[in-house]
Amino acid sequence: MAFVLLGADQLLSLSYLRGVKFRFNFPDLVHGFLQALIFAGSFLFVRDYFERKEVFSVNILLKRSLILGIGALFFYYLLDYIPEIYLGIKQGMSEARPSRVLGAKVIPTNPTLDYILELLKPFVIVYYLGASIMLFKKLIFFKKSRWDIIWWNLLQIILFFSLIFCFDWNIPDFAFIIFQVIGGALVVLLSIRLKWIGFLGTQDKLNAILYLVLINLMTIMLLQNFFYGQESNVLITDFNRNTFMLLIGFMVLLYSIFSILALIFNLPTSTVSEQKNTELNSFQELARMQGNLNMEELFEKLFKIALESTQVEGAFLLIDDPKNRYRFYATDNLKGENVKLLKGYCRAEGQNMEEQLLFLNATTEGDRFSAIRDQYQSVFYQPIVLKDRKIGDLFLMKSFANGFDEYMLRLIKSYTAQLMMTIHNVELLEETIESTRLKEELAIARAVQQKLLPKELPKNDHFEVSAYYLSAHEVGGDYYDYAEVDDLHKMIIADVSGKGTNAAFHVAEMKGVFQALMHLKLSGKEFLNIANQSISKCFDKGIFITLSYLSIDTNKKRFSHSRAGHCPTIYYNAKEDKIQLLDEKGLAFGIIRNDAYANHIEISEHNYNPGDVLLFYTDGILEAREKDGTEEFGFDRIKNLIAKHKNLNTKDILDKIIELLTVFTEGEMSFDDTTLLVVKFK
């Protein structure tokens, strides 16, 4: 449409020569008003409709514009043809054969239908042109600047005001010219916004050119038909009074022509930009794989990307990381014997961490690599290094010499680095998951272990009992329990060698054995002998349990005591006002695993009196250390505490011990579990 502006004067005069005839006796003003209404209406409609469409794909946008163009052309000719069909039907009723002469509109038609059809023509054209402009606008505004928006808004204002030209108001010629020149200039300014072209691939560019050429053709056909096609009785086909349509038509034509030219000039550079795009995408893809825990897929991706980004002819990737058990192997276009050669090379190179171009010269390498040399002249070697250890080797090969440039090598290096970072992150994630899981399991183990200890200790007229238990870890290896059978009250305190979860499981076994055997009315010796044998079966060699066992007969006012390798119990004899140790001979559980155990254990029998105190404890309290010293809490401190506080009740005796222990260790946690059990007879 550029010629319209260039030869404006000439054309203007031409357009005035074209007379306008009216079938209806409407004043020209009404025609002008209707046409302006159609222009504005259809334009505003498409503007709002296409503004909302958010798709951005150049080819989809252009395809839409093209489809609209074809549709517009189709409807345009249909509108031309409908009166003929209408007349044909009419004619057909009276004459046998309708004649083509009807097209010349010799015979009067239905004037109302004719009028409406004629008015639909500008609607169809403006709908198509407007829609195309709105679609182009998305291209124009690709990476838009502030000025693009200003030009665009100005153009819309010009278009709006150009609608007044539809009314024939004796407007002076220069007014049209001013509008057309300013509007044309804005169109030119907007038409040079072609930033989107740089982001298209070769194929997309070729497609775009095809679409744009067709769009151009459609537009020219439509405009040509409108302005020169027929002697319309209804339409104002004057150029000046149609400045609106002229401008939007000019815009569609100019933008598509500029785009075609720019696309053609940009074709040669598109391979480079495509390459860059692929690289960028590859990086993004690698980064996205962060959430992927499948190593196999990660390595496969690396291999694929290395192949694509360097256009190599042969490749070889071997991942072998015994530490994490990553194994991956892939080759591309490589003969079997060469694969073997390269594997050999990987082994020989061992921990070589340097990426390098390999020149597999006969002089330096003997003739080891002659097979590879026959197939490939350039070989690049890239070690795959995770954190600071090599986990694999990557070889890339090309058939011609000097096949790799600095840029490619850097690229491969960054890909590998990115992938290794991904793997590292995946590993960290897995570790976190693992440690969270372990914490949860320990919490469960702790809850279970708390249930192994008796909820309530006996309260009766014969004696009172209090207990203290503190585990050094989440779960511990100390245990105490109580059972009452007939008039016998049985108590046990035990310590499993080792600490933590393992020990806790053995504690559970110990509880099972204790609770089961208690009801069999066994003597102390029998109980210990059988318990040792049952427990030992479950234990690994080197694991043992020490325990002290107490059985109180309240009828006879006697108790029997024995210890299986456990710390001697402290016994305060009130009648004699004397502290003594119950340190019978006794072997820990789990050392001798048969009946011979009975020979290694002794039971002591005692008559008790009111005020007698028994203190059971585990070695955790003996070995509790000063915060910054080496001295242990030790046996004497406990003994002295009993001597001093023997008259208190069991709860208070415990409190006194714990109080002193806390002062001694300054609140520092013990390395071992600490358990105390105090019995006082009434």
């Binding site: 080197g542 043992f544 390798g565 072997l587 001798i592 290694h600 254990i601």
Partner: protein
């Protein structure tokens, strides 16, 4: 902890230096395992410089003593410090393991 191995005729003398606790038992475990494999089963332990032993430390001797006895050997401990000796007696191990006063008595076991 350090273990020094001295081979005297058919008897292997192991001098234990330092503390034998949960963290150092693995070392002792390795030493005893290799001795068992090579068939050197008559072992005497010089405990002069064994300053501390935990229950896990004791465990390592217990776990091996039967295997050594089966092959006609034994363990003999001598020159134990008082605190270490106490741990053995408390556990009742003095009736299972041979704990003697000096090197000569230990050698005399075999």
């Amino acid at each position: 902890m350090e273990v020094t191995k001295v081979i005297e005729a058919s008897i292997v003398k192991l001098e234990i230096n330092g503390e034998l606790d949960a963290s150092t038992t693995i070392e002792m475990d390795t030493v005893l395992k290799s001795l068992l494999e090579t068939g050197s089963v008559k072992i005497i332990f010089d405990c002069t410089n064994l300053s501390y032993i935990s229950s896990a430390g004791v465990g390592v001797f217990i776990s091996f003593v039967d295997d050594f006895k089966e092959k006609g050997g034994n363990f003999g401990f001598y020159n134990m410090q008082e605190n270490v000796h106490q741990v053995f007696t408390m556990l009742g191990l003095d009736s299972i393991l041979s704990i003697v006063a000096g090197e000569e008595e230990a050698k005399a076991m075999f």
